[in-house]
Amino acid sequence: MKETIIPIGPFHPLLEEPELFTLRVEGETVIDVDVKIGWNHRGIEKLAQGLTWDQVPYLVERICGICSTSHPYACVLAMEEILDIKAPLRAQYIRSTVGELERIHSHLLWLGLAGHFVGYNTVFMWAWKYREFVLDSLEHLTGNRNHYAMFKAGGVRRDFSQKAMDFTMKSMDGVEKALKMFLGVVSDDPVLKKRLVGVGILTYEDAILYSATGPTSRPSGVDHDVRRDEPFDAYDKVDWDVVVLKEGDVFAKAACRILECIESVKIIRQCIENMPEGEIDAGVTDIPPGEGCGHYEAPRGEVFHYMRSDGTGYPIRHKIRAPTFNNLPTFKATCPGAHIADVALITAAIDPCYCCTERVGVVDNTGNKSVLTQDDLTKLSIDRTFAIRRDLGKLTWDPYSKLI
């Protein structure tokens, strides 16, 4: 059969990073995939070498709008390792609370987008509606919906007020109810099961070989979580579980994310209930010479920061590794053999924001060129869901009258 090359990317409106996926397909089956990144390379590691130790957490916060707690978290852990200190107890609980709230809002954002791409726009609306409660809580607690600027070496910058903590406890009740409803929706729906089960399986062996992290590898049976394996801050003082599933397909990844949110609600409740009184800052003045590694379990996986100090006011090296850097290469293992309409889903299952593209050029070997838009690709994916629905006898209305 004739082989066709389909480039997806590099620019699409739904992902914060431009990427180019070059798919080689035979008929409708993907046989190979190549990923190219780098359009958004901002040289942040080099920039950090020109900033003072106090400025660096602000810089790394701006790496990603969704993980704006995870990067400063890992960064201050690396600094505290050079200093060989720990933050005061109240600061530790505050840090963990902000980190977990961020996890819930990131996972809900992903869930909404995933719902949209399989043609379940109700899930999209509901997930983003309940995400607002989390963002409101963050605004009450830290002063901002995003980019909280809470972290500094040796503590946090702002204290929680009792009023804000009461508000968060109340909104967690609503969020937990919504999460349990989502869990029911995902696990009971036969159409969703048929659409997602067995799609894009990442095996245990591949997850180990590619060193994948977070909700990409845990649904494949890899039992690891930085928060448990190397306990820091409040994570060893509260009761919670690591979610590990066996299947490794898109369905398991969705279930894993929802279950993780429920664990996060547990952590937030315990942190706020047991919030100790006291200082929130250890009063760090300068960083001694040395080197330190900090890592934190971000919503998408492990964030890793390495810092080296020579005793001056600036780091001499600051290495940053975001989880997607390890998770993206797993497409080489998951995409071959998949249906072309599933590729958007498989890629979306790894990165919360990726689905389709602004424009996709379909080029065959003879040089003829046609252009698929983002809407076309979304429609391909939605059509597949409806085909399954029709087969199951569940289609009760005409899908084309209500498309996007």
């Binding site: 039992d223 394996d229 190397e230 890592h295 080296r308 001499i316 590794r321 850097f325 290469p329």
Partner: protein, 168 residues
């Protein structure tokens, strides 16, 4: 997972290939090996000791480019930092990506940003830099020119007197 301290396991498995080893914190081990032993050491730490590769860091120093592979053993919560140096002037070192695929992207990144050549890398293309970025200029080195690079303009800026309102 191990019945004795991991630092002792490392000493036993790697033997005299270790040039320097220390455990400055409870959960951090730093060890140094020669460039010729890096593949063996990485294979033993990754496969035999069941760790995962977090990432690798390159640092421009006076001796050459120092490379640190960060491994993390999830079961024991121990981070093993495997250090080596790609010596000046040619900065050639054996590729760990030839041993396991997890190191592929990070070595591509180090190769283009620091100019290290990884011998035996299965896919030595550029990862992050633009295709038309000049060869032999490495942005993360300390000698990277801060001024404009001859013959390369990343974002061509229109002259201020040109009327480009019609483009909108």
């Amino acid at each position: 997972m191990f019945d004795k301290p991991i630092i002792d396991v490392l000493k036993e498995k790697l033997g005299d290939r270790i040039k320097d080893i220390s455990q400055p914190r409870e959960r951090r081990i730093y060890l140094f090996v020669d460039g010729k032993d890096i593949q063996d050491a990485a294979r033993i730490i990754f496969f035999d000791m069941k760790s995962r590769l977090c990432t690798a860091t390159a640092i421009d120093t006076r001796l050459g480019v120092e490379i640190i592979y960060h491994f993390f053993i999830d079961e024991d919560g121990m981070m093993i930092n495997l250090k080596t140096v790609a010596p000046r002037p040619d900065l050639i070192i054996k590729s760990v990506a030839a041993v396991f695929v997890a190191a592929e992207w990070i070595e591509r990144e180090m190769a283009e940003l620091f100019g290290v050549t990884f011998e035996g890398h299965p896919d030595p293309r550029r990862l992050l830099l633009a295709d038309d970025f000049p060869k032999c200029i490495y942005p993360y080195r300390n000698d990277y020119p801060q001024s404009k690079i001859e013959g390369f303009e990343a974002f061509p800026i229109d002259s201020p007197d040109k009327d480009n309102t019609n483009d909108l």
